[in-house]
């Protein structure tokens, strides 16, 4: 029974580039609908970590199973939000959001319906005919998130999506993300170097070590929602994670 609930099973994941061992024997499970944050020191290979999970890189050793099968982006429904801005300048907001569905060759009427629904959720309906060049950074980030949610992903991977945004905007988009996650029950794996962000968002936190990266600890974060970054409980958890992550 317990096994059925596991959507992602990472088994002894090891990745080397030549002589450089980046990921060292990492094993963990992610449950369906879980919000997992991964934190670790800068340059510890967090992005490599995600790229391995999506199959962008081949593993040196170990395996990654999605729903019990080796990961395959053609078969599994995975969405990835990258650190870099990844909207496509030649597509309108609507076409950008439809991109994933189009690549998956969904029927046109289904695409139209799904896209309209997601655009409404992130508040971009009014801007659907705009091109990225006409939008602000926060709206671009919403387009990317809408594109990811539009495919109803089994797993949504996010690589420091809000790293370059100012604090206020980050808080707003984090709340929007949480709303989408609660509404759609998507499994989210969220990488960040921002401990406060991790504690604010996550159900579980995976703390990584320096290179060669392995898991230092997996923490359960049971703070009740909605959370506030200033409550003593919150600060306790934050300090706990900070202690774990300290490499100085």
């Amino acid at each position: 029974m317990e096994n059925k609930d596991i959507i992602l099973h990472v088994d002894h994941m090891t990745k080397s580039f030549g002589d450089l061992k980046v990921l060292n024997d990492i094993s963990f499970d992610v449950h369906r609908g879980e919000f997992l944050c991964i934190v670790g020191p800068t340059g510890c290979g967090k992005t490599t970590f995600l790229n391995c999970i999506t199959g962008l890189y081949n593993l040196t050793e170990g395996q990654i199973l999605v729903n019990g099968e080796p990961v395959d982006t053609k078969k599994h429904n995975i969405a990835y939000i990258f650190q870099e801005y990844s909207t496509m300048s030649w597509l309108t907001v609507e076409e950008n959001v439809a991109f994933g569905l189009k690549m998956k060759r969904k029927p046109a009427d289904e695409i139209k319906r799904e896209v309209a629904e997601v655009l409404e959720m992130v508040g971009l309906t009014k801007f659907k005919d705009y091109y990225p060049v006409e939008l602000s950074t926060s709206m671009l980030q919403r387009v990317v998130i809408a594109r990811a949610f539009a495919v109803k992903p089994d797993i949504l991977l996010m690589d420091e999506p809000y790293g370059q945004l100012d604090v206020e905007l980050r808080f707003r988009l984090e709340d929007e993300l949480l709303k989408l996650w609660e509404k759609l029950g998507t499994t989210v794996i969220f990488i960040t170097h921002n401990i406060e962000e991790a504690v604010y968002l996550s159900e579980n936190i995976l703390v990584l070590t320096n290179k060669p990266t392995s898991i230092k600890e997996k923490l359960e974060n049971t703070l009740p929602r909605p959370r506030s970054v200033v409550t003593p409980d919150f600060i306790d958890v934050r300090n706990q994670v900070t202690e774990l992550i300290k490499w100085w």
Binding site: K74, K75, A79, F82, S86, L91, T92, M103, V133
Partner: protein, 261 residues
């Protein structure tokens, strides 16, 4: 905003009117040169109107010359676009095509279109074929180079997005790489059109019985600078019209680019 744009248009008109005015001043008013050496704009305009219907002295009317040149230039250009653009795209996308085609392409690329003319004449005689072949080679090169460079500019992050959504190789080519390359591809097509037009006039100067280049060459032989200038005006005007049409097409199909003015 509107007013400002109107002024910008005025500036362009002033530049053309100014150019003609200076020409007129030098030739017809100050008479710095004799009208047999460099005729003024009035003489040229008269000749131009006359040449529209007169076949003297070179055997064909101006429209007939223009038509002949256009036929060859557009024919060769289209072939260059139709063959060169896909070739550039495939070379950039498929490593094997690149390895196969590139050595020959790199050898032929530095040879200017005009340098092909003597060989083409030997191969195909002096009819329309050698000229189309020469124009084709001039148009082909920029089409290949630009589409190649354009495809190579595809951003990694866009490829990753495609990959994580499970896109096939062909989907990534058509939905990511080609749209990325489109502005450069169109620039290539435009450069090719300019090159074709330049090339055909030069080709007609060497071996021909009709065409703008031929007309200019004949006019030089019988010392008619007014006809030479008419030919030059036709060449410049048609080139500008082409470039304008392609700009319009570019604005229509290249989306999501910031345009000023």
């Amino acid at each position: 905003m509107k007013k400002k744009n109107d002024n910008v248009w005025m500036l362009s008109i002033v530049s053309i009117v100014g150019f003609i005015a200076i020409w007129w001043l030098c030739c017809d008013v100050l008479k710095l040169t004799s009208s047999a050496t460099l005729p003024g704009p009035v003489t040229v305009a008269k000749t131009f109107v006359k040449k529209l219907s007169s076949t003297a002295p070179d055997g064909a009317t101006l429209p007939a010359h223009i038509f002949s040149s256009l036929q060859i230039a557009l024919g060769g250009w289209m072939m260059g676009v139709v063959i060169g653009t896909p070739l550039g795209i495939f070379m950039a996308w498929y490593k094997k095509v690149d390895l196969f085609v590139r050595p020959v392409f790199d050898l032929l690329r530095p040879v200017p279109g005009l340098a092909w003319i003597p060989l083409m004449i030997i191969l195909f005689g002096i009819g329309i074929t050698p000229k189309i072949a020469t124009v084709f080679l001039s148009a082909f090169v920029p089409c290949v180079l630009n589409s190649y460079t354009g495809i190579r500019q595809t951003k990694d992050v866009h490829m990753w997005v495609g990959q994580t959504f499970g896109a096939s190789d062909t989907q990534m080519l058509w939905h990511i790489a080609v749209p990325t390359a489109l502005p450069l591809i169109i620039t290539g097509i435009r450069v090719a059109l300019g090159a074709s037009w330049t090339c055909i006039v030069a080709a007609e100067m060497l071996a021909s019985t009709k065409g703008l280049g031929y007309m200019i060459q004949q006019a030089r032989g019988i010392y008619r600078p007014d006809i030479i200038i008419c030919g030059m005006i036709a060449i410049g005007g048609i080139g500008a019209i082409f470039s304008g049409i392609l700009s319009l097409i570019e604005n229509k199909i290249v989306k999501g680019v910031r345009r000023d003015g």
